[in-house]
Symmetry: C2
Subunit: 146 residues, 2 copies
């Protein structure tokens, strides 16, 4: 399943005339292999352990490239630090206001809900997604004990 993702990734690269560099592959693999919607800094820190020469600007540059080619998503949050994910299938997010942890969720009933007609006057709607925010179990416990 991960391999499928990666071979799709390689194909898309060829189609677009982008070069498949080691760095790009590693950045994508890091995203595809994690569930925590990492920041650029986090990806950088992780990759440095196995690829000590990679630079932070390469991570930023490629997150931007991958995003603009629709290969990764930038998560819609209320934070200023960008968070990314390789999961492109429609889904939604739960965000903890304290620890900023992001959890993927699916919400079938919402997905089946058609937006009101008049939204179409606005223009061309490409994505609809729900952001739920609050305080996660772990942070609730921490609050009580402190």
């Amino acid at each position: 399943m991960q391999e499928t993702l990666i071979s799709d990734f390689e194909k898309t690269f060829q189609q677009r005339g982008l070069r498949l560099t080691q760095q790009r592959l590693e950045i994508f693999k890091a995203l595809a292999g994690s569930k925590d919607h990492p920041t650029a800094e986090k990806i950088y820190a992780q990759l440095r352990t196995t690829m000590p020469t990679i630079s932070l600007d390469t991570v930023y540059r490629n997150l931007h490239t991958l995003h603009s080619h629709g290969l990764i998503n930038r998560v819609v949050t209320g934070q200023s630090q960008a968070r990314f994910e390789a999961n492109l299938s429609p889904h939604h997010h739960l965000i903890c206001k304290i620890c900023q942890k992001i959890t993927d969720i699916s919400w079938q009933d919402f997905d089946n809900l058609a937006p009101p007609q008049d939204f179409n006057q606005w223009g061309d709607i490409k994505e609809k997604q729900v952001t739920l925010s609050g305080i996660c179990k772990t942070c609730l416990k921490d609050k009580k004990s402190s």
Copy 2:
């Protein structure tokens, strides 16, 4: 209606022991009186015309203060620059991927939809909101003509 907002604002300040300074009032009024979900920079630029001595850090500081006291919202977006609004009633947003314009929308059917039970295991959900993104009419036209 704006006056109600502002008097609520003043009351909340008293209750919390926060001081009602000219700057805070102007920042709040700028937000309450605009529909475009401005950034800190935009508010600063606007206020400078009538209050030339206000500083950008005061704007930032107070947006943070107002937000942490629940008097304003930070809009959930996929941008890194923070956008704010004084509209605290539950509503949703349409965001243009090109010009970044944010439009308020209401979506009754969604508001009536209860989140799946199992989301509650996650913790305490405080807000649920929809972000629709795409390309607005104006940007669609610009694309065609270019």
